[in-house]
């Protein structure tokens, strides 16, 4: 285990029926700490649902110049 952190993107919906939207991102050692960091960092609303996903797990579809594509490239370097 090291102090090296990974990037996790945070998605949430405010109320039942709302869209799930990208609200930001956190750094964390692993999935469990990412959940804690997301919940305590983005506490401006009482979210109906919140999820985190490691940035490298997001597969860009139509463009290769966004942060998600960059994260995947860096993970494979």
């Amino acid at each position: 285990m090291s102090m090296r952190e990974k990037v996790y993107d945070v998605f949430a919906r405010k109320d039942r029926g709302d869209q799930l939207v990208h609200i930001g991102y956190v750094d964390a050692f692993d999935d469990d700490t990412a959940k804690v960091h997301a919940w305590t960092t983005y506490d401006e609303e009482r979210w109906f649902e919140m999820c985190v996903v490691e940035r490298t797990a997001i597969i860009p579809v139509n463009r290769q110049d966004g942060p998600f594509a960059k994260a995947r490239r860096e993970a494979h370097e």
Partner: protein, 317 residues
């Protein structure tokens, strides 16, 4: 290599183009954004130890909770701004843990000690209002889309900090006696401190590119006016002396003291009687940093080194 020239990008953002990723940026744009985000992140970060050390003066457990909720928000805002910096190629690790205290870019106000509860609530009322003034201008005008999205949360929470400051300023002023004397003392040093925070007047401002790239919308003097437009009436309503007034002829707020002027950090007193100084003198004072600079930065950085050492089983570099 950018897909646009500097001139092309400036024209595009002035016409409403939103920048989404480093590939959309020119080198000039990236540099201007980096400077802006570094100031923003460092200011949020350094407010945390400043407020944290002052929170021990909270008069009840409930007020302790409110004070710490504000600190938690500030750290989250700092974290978000440093993450935005990582997206444009900077290292959060270096920015937070690898710099010397004097290398941080926060305003001089956050190098000062907040010595009592009145100092803390006036900091919320004045400094956080400066934060909202600056950041809501960025929110409404920025051409950098990830920053605009991030500021939704920041704006929501800074408004709560400001309300906390105002509610407590009102309570202290109503109480009269020592409570309002302490409040006035905090206003006396923090009003000019916040005025100075907005930086060089427009007629002396060196070209920064932040307006050209639409990273902000208002100039320093305009932002100073926005801050005074809400702060001066608040002080008047609470019976506090603030060294500024509305000038009917000029149709703007004007300061009642020589600006800029010298500050005695030990005494927490502005030397109004010594007259105006040059902005070079101000920059020299900012560069020398204030009395709490090293203490605040050290309080943020310390544990990182210790815990890294535990993980690595050897002394951290």
């Amino acid at each position: 290599m950018s897909r646009f020239t500097e001139e092309e990008l400036i024209e595009k953002v002035q016409n409403g183009y939103m920048v989404e990723s480093p590939e959309d940026m020119t080198e000039g744009y990236r540099k201007a954004l980096r400077v802006q985000l570094t100031v923003q992140a460092d200011t949020e970060l350094m407010s945390a130890p400043s407020y944290w050390m002052a929170a021990r003066h909270a008069p009840s457990t409930n007020t302790q909770v409110s004070a710490h909720a504000i600190i938690q928000d500030e750290l989250a805002h700092a974290n978000i701004a440093y993450r935005l910096l990582e997206d444009i190629g900077e290292s959060k690790e270096h920015l937070v843990y690898g710099r010397q205290p004097h290398e941080f870019k926060h305003p001089y106000g956050f190098d000062q000690p907040l010595d009592n509860w009145a100092d803390l609530v006036v900091a919320n009322g004045f400094f956080d209002r400066a934060g909202i003034t600056l950041l809501s201008d960025v929110y409404h005008n920025t051409s950098y889309a990830p920053l605009k999205r991030a500021l939704v949360k920041v704006d929501m929470e800074e408004t709560f900090h400001l309300r906390h400051g105002e509610v407590w300023m009102r309570r202290l002023s109503k109480a009269g006696g020592e409570a309002s004397e302490m409040l006035q003392r905090s206003v006396d040093w923090m009003f000019p401190m916040t005025i100075e925070w907005f930086g060089l007047p427009d007629d002396l401002k060196r070209h920064s590119g932040q307006l050209d790239y639409k990273l902000k919308g208002l100039t320093n003097d305009q932002l100073r006016q926005v801050w005074m437009a809400s702060t001066v009436p608040l002080c008047e309503e609470l019976g506090l002396d603030a060294p500024a007034h509305w000038d009917q002829e000029k149709e703007e707020y004007v300061l009642d003291y020589p600006f800029p002027c010298q500050y005695d950090a030990e005494e927490k007193r502005w030397a109004f009687d010594e007259g105006e100084i040059s902005w070079d003198d101000v920059f020299a004072r900012w560069k020398g940093r204030g009395p709490m600079n090293e203490i605040y930065v050290e309080s943020v950085q310390r544990s990182r080194m210790d815990v890294s050492r535990w993980f690595n089983g050897k002394a951290a570099a």
